[in-house]
């Protein structure tokens, strides 16, 4: 069961966290771009290091970590947009 997830995932059971690009940050909230190209607002209280341009992992509307490493470069290309620093 998915709660609307197109891949049929259960977000809680599936240990699902989606990568998103931070566009702008205002305190505990950030405007982000998703891998599907949409934009939304998520909570970033738990990732103080995240700034515009950072890639974060979002679970249930809350960022739980930041992404790093080589694999991230491709995602950064995918999500590359003008960011507000």
């Amino acid at each position: 069961m998915s709660g609307g997830d197109p891949t049929g995932r259960c977000a809680a059971c599936g240990d699902v966290a989606d990568p998103m690009l931070v566009l702008a940050r205002h305190g505990g909230e950030a405007r982000v771009r998703t891998a599907e190209g949409g934009e939304r607002t998520v909570a970033v209280d738990l990732v103080p290091e995240a700034v515009p341009g950072s890639l974060i992992l979002v679970h249930q509307g809350v960022a739980i970590g930041t992404l790093g490493g080589d694999a991230v470069r491709d995602l950064r290309d995918l999500l590359a947009v003008e960011t507000t620093r």
């Binding site: 069961m1 059971c13 909570a43 992992l57």
Partner: protein, 371 residues
């Protein structure tokens, strides 16, 4: 999608499958438990089990919080939902989970105010929009999900929201692994560790699995290449007589996890002495409850847990499947009395449940792309 395509590349997967076949010693068996429901889902979705030699067996673990929640906890939450003025909120994944008197969706059909939310922050927003009504969030999930509940409670306290309550059912991964490792009939050789749980808690908490029980664990990502690489890493460890904690998912999992998230969890939650897991029984210190400082938001302390509770249906053999003693298809109800459309046992409820995943993808042949 570019980000995932390289982790679903057929050539890479086939090369890893060749490597696994080369590493697999035909003179021994490898029983590997993937703890996380997301891994179970990916294994069936991409048919990865069909790429492995017969002497590598993947055992589907208890990493599906919906699956391991006893029916009594569902009953308790739904009893709260029956309160005339209360707004019951939960993730969409919870809406069809059966209690003894039906699911949240069925409660809604009977007139209860049941609302699906994407995030606990949405439930808090509903509470702020309806200050004259209690709003209860049915919190469920492992250490990946608990931080979102913690952030929500910290914001609720900061804003002085007095009508927001959490029914806390958050559970912990490592006590469940310990319970499995201490079973008399344990036949597991190694573990594939959960990815995003580990983003939060890091890799250190798994150390006892290698040091005290001599089993390797590899924290893994969720794409086919991730999982195949993790299996190869486990085989290398076993062939070399090593038992270590390794991290295949370094792009998302720092060795020590997320210290800010861990601090938030520690601020809001404390361990329960014990908690009942469907199919596994009571496991010490395996779940969280709200700390006294957040008692005013605790649905169990304020609204109270009332109503009849019933034991889980005995005809479904979820427990044996969770422990790896039975394959999903070996359950007497699989595909007959118990289907994703009409689940009896918990493992058929969530798409990450071992039985639902097996049922959904049973007829798929090997496929590396599914984007």
């Amino acid at each position: 999608m570019k980000y995932v395509d390289e982790f679903r590349d057929g050539d890479t997967i086939r090369a890893l499958a060749d490597e696994i076949r080369r590493l697999a010693d035909p003179g021994r068996t490898y029983r590997i438990m993937e703890i996380c429901g997301g891994h179970t889902h990916a294994i069936f979705r991409f048919g990865l089990h069909q790429l492995l030699p017969a002497n590598i067996e993947l055992v589907h673990g208890p990493g599906c919080p919906v699956c391991v929640l006893p029916m009594g906890r569902m009953d308790a939450g739904l009893a709260m939902a029956e309160r005339e003025d209360l707004i019951f909120t939960a993730f969409g994944d919870m809406m069809r989970v059966p209690g003894s008197a039906g699911s949240p969706l069925e409660s809604k059909a009977r007139g209860a105010d049941v609302r699906m939310v994407y995030s606990p922050l949405d439930a808090l927003r509903i509470a702020e929009e309806h200050p004259d009504r209690p709003v209860m969030f049915f919190a469920i999930g492992f250490e990946t999900t608990a931080p979102s509940t913690a952030v929500t409670l910290l914001r609720a306290r900061e804003r002085g929201v007095a009508n927001f309550f959490v029914f806390c059912n958050h559970v912990l991964v490592t006590p469940a692994i310990l319970a499995i490792l201490e079973m008399d009939d344990l036949r597991l050789d190694a573990f594939i560790g959960p990815g995003h749980v580990s983003t939060v808690i890091g890799c250190e908490p798994y150390r006892f699995i290698a040091e005290d029980f001599g089993r390797p664990l590899v924290v893994s990502g969720f794409e086919p290449v991730d999982l195949m690489q993790s299996i190869a890493m486990i085989l290398r460890q076993m062939n070399e007589g090593r038992a270590e904690i390794e991290n295949q998912y370094g792009r998302a999992v720092p060795w020590n996890g997320n210290p800010v998230a861990k601090a938030a969890l520690d601020l809001v939650f404390e361990e329960r002495e014990t908690f009942e897991w469907r199919g596994l029984g009571g496991i010490p210190r395996s779940a969280w409850r709200l700390r006294e400082a957040f008692a005013a938001f605790d649905a169990e302390r304020t609204i109270g847990v009332h109503g009849p509770t019933f034991p889980d249906p005995v005809e479904a053999q979820c427990g044996e499947v969770l422990k790896g003693a039975l394959e999903p298809t070996e359950c007497r109800l699989f595909g007959k009395g118990c289907t994703p459309e009409r689940p009896v046992g918990a493992l058929m409820v969530s798409s990450e449940g071992a039985c639902a995943a097996r049922y959904r993808y049973a007829d798929l042949t090997v496929g590396a792309t599914d984007a």
